[in-house]
Symmetry: D2
Subunit: 379 residues, 4 copies
């Protein structure tokens, strides 16, 4: 692992999620930009001191020297955004598979560069869009794929938060500091959570966003990145909708949610109560599909497979995260074992999602500057 | 009453709501464009046959001949949209106060004309934006007015329906037929329900919408008006947000809802469960304010006054509707009695809301045609 | 109307509900035990002064002297409980139909007496168990009747309130005063709201409660009646369950709700959000049935008929109340017109429900005193 | 670990939960009564073959032979109920700490025996009542402890399930088979889930149940244990309430929930949406306390400490389970290190809860047989 040092948020989530199913073991890491802190973290994590590295470059070099069966199998990149690209690139070049936090890079150019490298190296590359790891998001995707909603007409997707409604970054709070520093984060609300909303919408509908009319705003005086996103969207099939996100919507926590309406049915899903999918029809009662039931697995092999507990025993954020890891790990293992992975294990976000995400961010920024209503999604 | 004949929806709602509090009695009407049906409806309503009129012109003429204390006190206009203007105008000219359905007219020019007439005649004029009649919408408005939310930054307002997801108008269904006939309705989704969303947003925030970036869509081939609305909005104080509405969002019924976020707090309200207002803050639990409690009345005199039942005994659509009537009726009675009305009774939508509504519709249509991102709200 | 004077709660609800559909007109009344207040109320209600009576006996006598078409058609009894029996009896004896508040009498003996009288007089007698007037309660009842749940096994029914969690009756609050005075109310929580819970359970399941194991409690020192009810119940078919109610459950308002489970399906309904019925099955998603939809009317003619608004425009307490009135009124009118009423109009609680209610209260009191676990329901 | 072989449910949950925080490593096990299956499971779990034992006795003997720092630190007992006692006893006698599934034993005599042994051995003993591991249950407990609810008056606690609404045990389904075999399970619904409800009620209120009036039922013909529980309860301070549970409530999953009302406030919590605690008061809005916020930690050090994710990123069943493990592990480690554990780490269910559980089950069975209303809780 690179990143996830003392005080970091997402690195610890990666560790807990990766550990959950007993398929992945943390063996080494460069956890902090400060080598001392990195080693201190390694100790807390009960790692062998010899594999507590000061920098990721050191880690790559040292691990490469270990015999094949003993060296790390892949690298999880959980640093601030600006480090994703150089680290992922070096890992890939050294022949390691990569699980990377999102947004994948700082520019779409870098993103495409990584995509090319992944192809060349036949690497397994995972991008941690964790919300699509939820079983009910998989079910939604499969219902759309099976044409149960008919042709999609309308999509509303949102991700409101409220934690940056004040200038938290001026208080020294670590999460707020790097996320509002354009050099480390690239963009604000649009990159941090807007990308999740866009990814979720494309994932569930199976449709590409082709047009954007965006209005990014910075409400807090003195903030260096956007903290609010309002956006009209168009999809390749003519579907239309709205995407909005915010970090100044006081009282909202991580309220990413989506509504999709087709010519036959509609559906609704909320991350904060992730075990339910609401299915709406024209001439019958609304249905509440609940994770863990046989009827869910019958509609969606993925949703059925990525479930650990019987219905009514709620699963949540860590399990969704772990779902990406368990699929990713199966692909890494299959590669090591020289076999094809379980086809269902291919169901995790990858380098192409990373490219889409960077194109989305850049188009959002361009649209905000433009006086024209519609800006075509960059390619 | 004009309109509300056999098979009509909203006219019957007006009658039930107006009747509820025992302050208003239906004494005469021209209920249908077909004089026969009009008289048949009058009979069903136990009206005196002599006051069952064939046309509204006949009604005005005949009622004017009755002595002052016996003639009708005001006219409720509940016809399809294209009739609102001529009927309201004639009633006002004849000296009758008017309660009118929305949208008020077919054009903003007509709307301004009515506004002028109302002023000249010192008439009492009510516009039936019924959703702002809900006590919890009043409470929300008063919380914003009292600066409890701080300065408003973000607004999300929606009104999804699904009943026109098929070409219902081709089946002869009466409601669908006139509402999708541009000659009778003027516009589709934007006029029928988009106006309610805009009105609710301006009512609660106390802020005017100044900029619009709209995308109206007609999803059903062969439909003659828009059936879906996606829109970015700007308010006079710099607040921004999203307004979306739809008549093709399958499974949605009358899901008008609003989220407002300020610099101090946020709030959320849903018409389909109208007795609750959710208040969100940065550093305390979310609060569920419930209609009928003393703490509600303490914050909002209007919400406290316009409540008929103790908390936990739900009130709903009819009561919100009746709230507009009871305030309107107090103003009509005060005028008849030559006194000032209860100041709280001035709290109902009026001809100026009707002008705003028409300006909104026209700006939405103009913005949809425009390639520019932002279109200034017409004045 | 008898009762419903200044400051009364339920009398005003009766008036608004009876008025709603334009089928019932208030023509006279004895509204208060103080003749002066009674006349004052009559004036507020725009009644003819000649029909504002000082006492109910005066009212009966005077109305009887009016010609058949002009006198009142029925009497609504909305006084404190101890007056129900003498007033209803006198009205019935004088040949008037009666709509009576619940609990119907102070003893089951009185209740049976009234039942006999109703039979003798062929009177129309309504008992205001308003909660069974909700369309979704009708739908639930019809689903059970149609065997969609299979054989019923388990019932949980509750009615928690919190308004008597302090000694409100010592503050002079009118509602609290008479409801906690055993001479006026007969019993406390068990009579006031426990009866509603029992009535709802028997209504929806179509099954009689045959055994009771009750624990009534008075939590507030100095209170003269029970304020909390916990109870095991058995039904005639072997189904079992729990009934609990309270007036000291702080923060609860009128949270009457029921869960019924059969061999095939289960259902759940909450009065505070009355437009939804939740239907549960073994091998499919939970269903949310929403009032006003065609699929509701298709399952339950009663639920379809007793609906005034399209789905998504919520109906609530007054409409449920009015549903009992509109059915009752149809039966009164049919009697006056010498015809059979619409069979669906027979669907309102009547004198037999009143007898059941008194037997329930007496059994609850007896069981509370008993050391035996089960007390058979009195007959 | 003992138990948790192929097809087992709860053993796998123990493994995932214990693993989550990186503080506990599975080093050996006797996973199945069939030694072959046990070793097969060990292989799947990547254990050293030498520590894959055929029986728990073999495991104890072999581990004892390992040097102190290398042998297992404690044993998790996750077998069917009838094995809990002998295994736990042998482990304790051999000097190992124990984490045991519930119900702890088959009789209260065995339970008291274990309690005595734990005391003698100064062992750390955890009992897996996982629901009290939820942060919001901790918050509820601490609010009551801090007297924010005042004196407790009323408690309603439930645990409805529907999965045994048919004779699933006749189909060979493993979970159903042993849970309905009185020799393996001891009791049915009352032991499997009724104990959780009782434990949760005593945990949150801090009050002992002193009186029980129970009605256990077996609805399915041919079933050998109870499948439904209805019960009145009394607490040591005079509070009263209702406890009901069921395995035939079709459509219910694991809907354990509790409502507690005191003289000042009330609260409500539902396991299926575990991140929210509803707090109710007499004169203010209902509050929704959400896990992960600073205001939660400020009220409850335990709730604040046992939280891994920011608010809005839901935690669920595994994390609650893991909370018991992490506290238990800290106590085991402190013992090994010869220091006092973090006082907050003492917050997990222990052998005394196990004794309470067995007394509860035996009292429930006795009360069901009794004709007397109240049966005193056994001691």
């Amino acid at each position: 692992m690179v990143g996830g040092g003392p005080g970091a948020f997402i690195g610890d989530v990666h560790r807990k999620a990766a550990r959950m199913d007993g398929q992945i073991e943390l063996v080494c890491g460069a956890f902090d930009i400060d080598p001392k802190k990195s080693k201190q973290m390694a100790e807390q994590l009960y790692l062998e001191p010899s594999r507590a590295y000061g920098t990721y470059k050191e880690m790559i070099a040292a691990e490469l020297k270990l015999p094949a069966g003993e060296r790390m199998d892949f690298v999880a990149v959980t640093t601030p955004n600006n480090w994703h690209y150089p680290i992922a690139k070096d890992c890939l070049k050294a022949g390691f598979d990569v699980m990377c936090e999102k947004p994948m890079t700082m520019t779409s150019k870098e993103a495409k560069d990584l995509a090319k490298l992944v192809k060349q190296k036949k690497a397994v590359f995972g991008l941690m869009h964790n919300y699509t790891g939820y079983p009910m998001a998989k079910l939604a995707r499969d219902m759309v794929k099976n044409k149960e909603l008919g042709e999609i007409r309308k999509v509303v997707v949102q991700y409101p938060q409220g934690w940056l409604a004040t200038l938290l970054e001026k208080t020294g709070q670590m999460q707020a500091s790097w996320r509002t520093d354009p050099k480390q984060s690239g963009a604000g609300c649009v990159g941090d959570i807007g990308t999740h909303a866009a990814n979720l919408a494309e994932f569930i509908t199976g449709l590409k966003i082709t047009g954007i009319c965006a209005e990014l705003t910075t409400f807090l005086e003195g903030r260096r990145v956007d903290d609010d996103v309002n956006c009209l969207i168009k999809f390749e099939n003519g579907a239309k909708g709205v995407l909005h996100a915010s970090q100044v919507s006081i009282g909202e926590e991580n309220n990413i949610a989506i509504w999709v309406y087709g010519t036959k049915k509609g559906l609704e899903w909320h991350q904060e109560n992730p075990n339910y999918l609401y299915v709406k029809s024209m001439d019958g009662p609304e249905e509440v599909w609940k994770r863990g039931n046989g009827y869910v697995g019958a509609k969606s092999a993925s949703a059925g497979r990525l479930t650990r507990l019987p219905s009514g025993h709620p699963e949540a954020f860590f399990e969704a995260f772990a779902n990406n890891y368990i699929n990713f790990a199966e692909c890494v293992r299959a590669k090591l074992e020289g076999r094809k992975p379980d086809p269902l294990a291919l169901d995790f976000p990858d380098v192409e999602d990373g490219v889409r995400g960077m194109l989305f961010i850049e188009t959002m920024l361009a649209s905000t500057k433009s006086k024209q209503k519609w800006t075509a999604m960059k390619k």
